[in-house]
Every structure is written in C-alpha cells, then in structure tokens.
Amino acid sequence: MRVNLHGTNACGVACCTKIEHVSVSAGMEIILDDVSLHMHCGETTALIGPNGAGKSTLMRAILGELPHSGDIRFTNAHTTVPIRPVIGYVPQTPRFDPQYPATVCDLFLACTSRYPVWLPCGKKRREWVREGLRMVDVDYTIDRRVGVLSGGELQRVLLALALNPQPQLLLLDEPSSGVDVHGLSMFYETVERVKESADLSVLLISHDPDLVRKYADRVVLINRRVVKSGAPDEVLTSAEYKALLG
C-alpha cells in the first residue's frame, strides 16, 4: 500500500521535502516499505507509531545515514531543482561520556564554525555562542562539559545547535524523553517560534499524543509503511491508531 499525503507527486507549495517510495532493509528484513510523504514549510509533521515501526530509521534515511531506495528531495521557492537542505537534527537524548573534554562552547563551535576548536576562541565567537544558547535559555551552560548536562539542558543545547545555521528542515527524534515540564514547553515554544518566523518544515517523532495534538499540523502513523495520515484529531481518533497504539 502506498499512501501519499497529497494525492499526487506534485507538491502544492514550492517549499517541500518530498519522501517518495522510500524503503530501507537490513539484510532480509524490511524496516521501511514504500513510504511516501510530503512535508511543507511552516508545518510540523509528527511521526508516530509503535516501537520498531521505523520512525527513527526514516529519520536516519533523511539524514543520509542509511542506504535506501526511493527518493528524498527538497525544493524551495527559489529553485525547482532539488537541493540538499540545511538540516537541523536533535537526536534522542544522547549520553555523552562525562569525561569528554569538550564544553558546550566547544561543541557549538565544532559543529557550526570552521575555526579550530582547539585554539582560543576569542570574545566575539564566545558571545555569538552565548547568543545562540540564550534563545533556549541555556547560556549558563556555556562552560560546562557536555557530559555533565542534565537531559533537559542537553536537549535544549542540541536544539540551539540544530537552529544554527538556520535550517530548512528540522528533525526532532523524541526530544521530550527525560526532560522536565518547564524544559519541555520551552523547547517546543522555541520550535514554534522559529518555525513561523523562518518558514521551516519540522519532522517530529513522539510517543506523547498530547504533545502531538498541541504542536503538530499533520500526523503520520507508520508501522513499517504509512498506515494513516492527516490532521492530528483525525489520526489520533482513528481505528488504525487505536489498533496500534491505543
């Protein structure tokens, strides 16, 4: 079965990430089977499904980390030719080695600049990093080692990182796990703000239906293939949702 959110391959809007007929397999096992979906700019698409449904796999295929068949293309208003989008990616809370000798400032500079992270960074660069961290209220962590941050702090640092440079496609892989309530709302408020001001597409993996209802514009239920897609209320009340996750 192939479900296309928009009926045809042509996207109604210019700015669009098109995932078409994407399949991923590991040896004999098929992890994703002919998945097609379009993500529009200025929209949050939530990807839901049971464990092992292939949600993270799809994200890793978009990142180019997994070989896949089918097409993943991105077009925007300025070009009709597919380009490689600027991707911001927030993984599931990673566990960094507590002894890893890099501060948040080091992590930020290593990811976002060409200036060698092992040389003194200078006031100007430091101020720029602080500015990026301030957006998600974690500028106080700038000199802490990345391995000693709490789950919530790390998640927000990684969001600040994902927003620099300004992405066209923001991938959030269960960013709420292990985060306190305050951190959670701050995280999503920031995503909402940036999404509207910068017109980016957001793909969100989440297990939390309340969160999905609150922040997603579209929901795609997958279980190796697209089972159901549409507006949050439509999908979250569907028989397919209840059968798989209810």
Partner: protein, 292 residues
C-alpha cells in the same frame, strides 16, 4: 636529496646544535654527542605530533585501532626493506596506508564487532611481518623495529619528521572540528553534511603515516603508548578542548625530553623511558582527579 638541500639541512642542524650547546650538560658541549642532539630534536618534532593525534585517539576510543596501525607499520617496514627500496620508509608508508584503509573500510562495512576486525588484521599483519623478517636470518634484525632507537636518528629523517609535523598541524587546523563532531554524535555530524567514514579514513591514514615515520625511533612495542597516554593524562586535568589539546602536547613534550635525557644517563631505550614518564603522569593526574 640534492647537494643544495643537503647543505641547507646541514645549516639547520648547525643552528640546532648551537642552541643545544647553550645547555649546562656535559653532552651539550660543542662537538659532543651529536647523535643525542639529533635524538632530542626528533623528540621535539614527534612529541607534539603524537600529542595532537592522541587527543582524537582517546576521544574516539581508538586505542586498539591505533595499536593495529603500529603492527601495520612494523610489517610495512619489513616489506619496505625486502622490496629493495633505497629508502624502506616509502614502501612502509605505502603498506601502512593500505593497511589503515583496509581496516577502516572493513570496520565500516562488516557486520562483525569492530574489535574482532581490528584483532584479525592486527594479528595477520604482525605474523606476516615476522615471517618475512625472520626468513632465513632469525630474530636479530627485528630489535630495531620492535624496540626502536632514538639515538640512531639521521638529519635527513628529521627533515621528514619536521614536514610531517607541519602537515599534521595544517590537517588539524582543518579537520579537528569535524572529528570532534563525529566523535560526539555521528548523526548530528551527518546532519551537518560531514561524511564520517571519509573523515575517519583520512584520520587513520594520517595516524598510519605518523606511526610509520616514528616506528624506527620509538619501536613497535611502545609506539601505541605515545598515541594514548598524552591525551589520557590530559583528560584527567581539563574539561575543554583548548586546554586538553595544550595539556596533551605539553605532557608529550615534557615526558619526551625528560625521558630522552634520562635514557642518556641510564643507558636504556629512550622510547621506553618516555612511555614510563607518561605513565607516571597518567597515574598522578588520575590521583589528582579522584581527589578533586
């Protein structure tokens, strides 16, 4: 090497000797202990080199991998000598690069545990080296490669070491950010357009060349320690990349020079004493960290 280059190299060495002659040691007198002065210069060149590379070996938990590169370099030297190159180093460098690429690519592609892959390559390489080196002649020729001899450094080799150091510093200026990002989170690195396997391939080639150039001075048995201990000790002291790198390079330099001078008086293998000094530093910094 042309006559003109040789003359320039001779001039550079004279400048170095003049500087060392200012030191208040008996071996530092003008015209004395040239072999030892060459050894000291070699240490000044390879210690910062290994101090830098060490930071990434430790951060990416590649200790076992770098050990295998030492084995590859050993076999490379044997092959280089047998292949009849006027300078065995060239053959050795080529062999080591191929070895490093093979291990890295197999690690990336195979579904076997990384440790197993490295172990297999490492063992096969060392066995091949031993078979080739001992064929007909026994073990005697192996000592210089196994233990190394810093006191046998020739000025022409120092020139290569200097160029290598320069190349690695330039490489580090360009590549360190990518390597740090990959070591922290592979997927984040990929989301930013970094190609981890390519970056790791280049890094392993750089390490392989460095190990091959230094193996005649340091010896296969302890060369991996130079790739692990400086950064391992530095990690106990610092929490930021800048200080960590500085501490790693400084520790390598201090222990390198200290070990080299100590070996002159004791009359032992310099590389082994350097490693002991680094091991001591690791122990002390570990204690300091546990206490704090």
């Amino acid at each position: 090497m042309s006559i003109r280059n040789t003359a320039v190299l001779g001039d550079i060495m004279q400048v170095w000797y003049a500087i060392v002659d200012l030191l208040p040691f008996s071996w530092a007198e003008p015209g004395q202990g040239l072999f030892f002065k060459n050894a000291l210069l070699a240490v000044l060149l390879i210690a910062p080199l290994f101090g830098l590379l060490s930071t990434m070996i430790v951060n990416t938990n590649m200790a076992f991998f770098s050990e295998s590169l030492g084995h590859g370099a050993f076999t490379g030297m044997v092959v280089g000598t047998l292949a009849g190159f006027t300078e065995p180093l060239w053959g050795a460098v080529v062999f080591s690069i191929i070895f490093a690429l093979l291990v890295t690519v197999t690690r990336a592609k195979a579904r076997l545990s990384s440790d197993t892959i490295i172990g297999v390559y490492s063992a096969v390489s060392i066995a091949l080296g031993l078979v080739l080196a001992t064929r007909g002649t026994g073990l005697s020729k192996l000592n210089s490669l196994l233990v190394g001899d810093l006191m046998s450094v020739r000025p022409a080799e120092l020139l290569w070491a200097a160029l290598l150091l320069l190349g690695v510093v330039v490489y580090w200026l360009i590549a360190a950010n990518k390597l740090v990002t990959i070591s922290l989170h592979r997927s984040i690195a990929m989301s930013r357009g970094i190609r981890p396997v390519l970056s790791e391939l280049i890094f392993s080639v750089v390490v392989a060349i460095s190990v091959t150039v230094a193996i005649r001075w340091v010896g296969m048995l302890v060369i991996n320690a130079l790739l692990i201990l400086p950064a391992a000790a530095a990690r106990n002291l610092t929490g930021s990349m800048g200080r960590f790198t500085l501490a790693s390079v400084l520790l390598a330099l201090i222990c390198g020079i200290g070990g080299c001078i100590g070996a002159y008086y004791i009359g032992c293998a310099a590389s082994a004493l350097i490693v002991l000094c680094l091991g001591g530093c690791f122990g002390l910094t570990m204690l300091a960290r546990v206490r704090s």
